[in-house]
């Protein structure tokens, strides 16, 4: 899938800044450097995720390698009061929102079904059933609108999700109600083994106008373009002008998850092509050309990435299993007696085996 005329790009393949009639970069030098820092740290944590899974510390990991610009660029555009409803690969968004990355690993280690308090960083629980979170985003955004606050919601999903009914229902509902929500499709071109050409006959962003909202395709490996497009869409939402569909065209450089083997379905030449287009190198070239790169920055970023990765590894390796009680906690605010009885029976059973080497 190639870039097209309508696609928003602010950086060319070599990191040269491109002029765009609508979208501009309004970031200070430090903020520009921070984008790189975020992407580099996220890539390092993500690699640690794959390693930890290979070493048996995680049940599974869903790598985001290659999608750092789409995630970091869009997340940096959010205000702290905005709310994000992720899919299950949004490590980059979680990091920018300020989550302790160890929290994300609780889910994949199997000690928790979420791992964080969504209210703490306005970052919702991972939603594994495809596209379902888009509807939650619409409801949450509608609530914001009714409260009269200038806040917005962003929801993340992939190209595969574009085939699900929930996404179409969400786009439609949001447009009818002018809900302040940005639909951010990370089109990474593969839904496990099925290429986007088998998901959709027309570009995903073009559905926006059909539902009554703008649709924008942005180069998802151009962190500045993703930032600028998302920022404008969020601002539009906050001003009461309704939802926007953003398609960030990117590429999943890793496997769908650590249980997947992409060599079974993905041509090596395609992987090579997109490896050459990966977002970090391109953005580093931009920083160099802009005089914002230095050995000091490079060392700092490396040190931070190593430090965070070590903290994640330590956090995962020392993560305790949940207590038995977690089985029945928080199922209901007011649990039925039948559940209380079931748990009492389980506890009695467990007690009989205590000390029996089990």
């Amino acid at each position: 899938m190639e870039a097209n005329e309508e696609q928003v790009r602010l950086l060319d393949a070599d990191g040269n800044l491109l002029a765009h009639p609508v979208y501009k970069v309004d970031l200070e030098d430090d903020e520009l450097r921070r984008l790189y820092r975020h992407m580099a740290v996220v890539r390092r944590i993500d690699e640690e995720g794959v390693n930890l899974q290979r070493q048996g510390q995680l049940g599974i990991w869903a790598p985001c390698k290659g999608q750092e610009a789409a995630q970091v660029g869009s997340a940096v555009a959010l205000e702290s009061e905005d709310f994000a409803f992720p899919s299950y690969r949004e490590l980059g968004v979680a990091w920018v929102r300020g989550l302790d990355p160890v929290a994300v690993f609780r889910l994949y280690r199997g000690v928790h079904l979420c791992g964080w308090d969504p209210r703490e960083h306005n970052f919702g629980p991972y939603a594994i059933p495809i596209a379902t979170q888009a509807l939650h985003a619409v409801g949450y955004a509608l609530g914001m609108k009714w409260e009269g606050v200038e806040q917005a919601v962003i929801t993340y999903f992939g190209d595969g999700a574009s085939s699900e009914g929930d996404l179409s229902e969400a786009l439609n509902f949001a447009a009818v109600q002018a809900a302040p929500v940005v639909f951010l499709c990370q089109n990474n071109q593969w839904a496990i083994s099925v290429p986007v050409t088998k998901q959709a006959a027309a570009p995903i962003w073009r559905r926006g106008p059909g539902f009554g909202m703008p649709g924008v395709q942005v180069d998802g490996n151009d962190v500045l373009a993703v930032y600028a497009v998302t920022r404008a869409a969020l601002e539009r939402a906050r001003q009461g002008e309704g939802p926007t569909l953003v398609e960030a065209l990117t590429y999943r450089l890793g496997a769908h998850t650590t249980t997947d083997d992409p060599t079974r379905y993905r041509p090596a030449a395609e992987l090579d092509l997109w490896t050459g287009r990966e977002p970090l190198g391109r953005y580093r070239a931009f920083l160099e050309r802009s005089g914002l790169w230095s050995q000091e920055l490079s060392d700092e970023v490396q040190a931070e990435a190593d430090r965070v990765a070590a903290a994640v590894r330590h956090g995962v390796e020392t993560m305790p299993d949940p207590p038995l009680r977690d089985l029945v906690e928080h199922v209901y605010a007011d649990p039925p007696a039948t559940l209380t009885r079931q748990f009492a029976r389980l506890e009695a059973f467990e007690a009989e085996f205590e000390g029996a080497g089990r």
């Binding site: 079904l113 979420c114 308090d117 409801g139 929930d166 969400a170 007011d334």
Partner: protein, 325 residues
Amino acid sequence: MASVTMAKALNTALRDALESDERVVVLGEDVGALGGVFRITDGLQKQFGEQRVLDTPLAEAAIAGVSIGLAARGWKPVPEMQFDGFSYPALDQIISHMAKYRNRTHGALTAPVTVRIPYGGGIGSVEHHSESPEAIYAHTAGLKVVSPSSPADAYSLLRESIESEDPVIFLEPKRRYWAKEEVELPVRTAPIGQARVLREGSDCTLVAYGPMVKVALDAAVAAEEESLGSLEVIDLRSLVPLDVDTLVASATRTGHVVVIHEAPEFCGFGAEVAACVSEEAFLSLEAPVLRCAGLNVPYPPARLEEAYLPGVDRVLWTVQRSLEF
């Protein structure tokens, strides 16, 4: 005392909930100007406006999913599914998210949504308008499942459901919408989770909920008139939580139990009642717990529904099988 239909009681409950808590919103297909196809939301949009009584696009998964998002934001959504048979597109949202949000986030983000679903048959309608999906919801951890049988209970249980911190599937027996009762609203009856013994008896316990409660009561009257026996009638009122104690106390007293529901018998809610009673009152039982229920067939065309649905005669016939065991 005023003579009130269940439809009016539900309408009043929604009105009072909208009035007492500004976070309450009613949403669904045709709930606005029309007042819903059964008029349960009649006049509410006029009184509370288009935002708090929201006509949604015709999309059940969206109605459920948007309700979850609203609830996460702190609102108290009361979505309506237009008919039982049209509620299935919402199942993924209800099962995968509404029921699990609290558990998944350890209570940080919850989805206290009250999903109203008119359910059950006996109204001579076309396909997909007469189904009884309660077992699906009762089997889904995280949901409460409530079904009233009278106007007073309809009012009280709906108010309590909307106030609940847990998501509630509120199943309205549509064939009972127009049945009247002398009652002064607002009224609070027994809380969710408490079954009621509507009629005491000594020979056999009839267990019912929603639309079958009237059938059970009529059967008990007929049994007395025809000297078939003294039947006790229990209205479960909520399937989750299930009031096992009331069931077991009654079964222990009578030694005979017949469960009645419209839904198909196999893996229906009656199986749970039978299992609970067998586990807790085995030595008091003089016969196996019997089920008088629908058949495991797609809901039949209207001209066959009388045969499909448990009626007074089939209930009494089942009671006799129990008593003669």
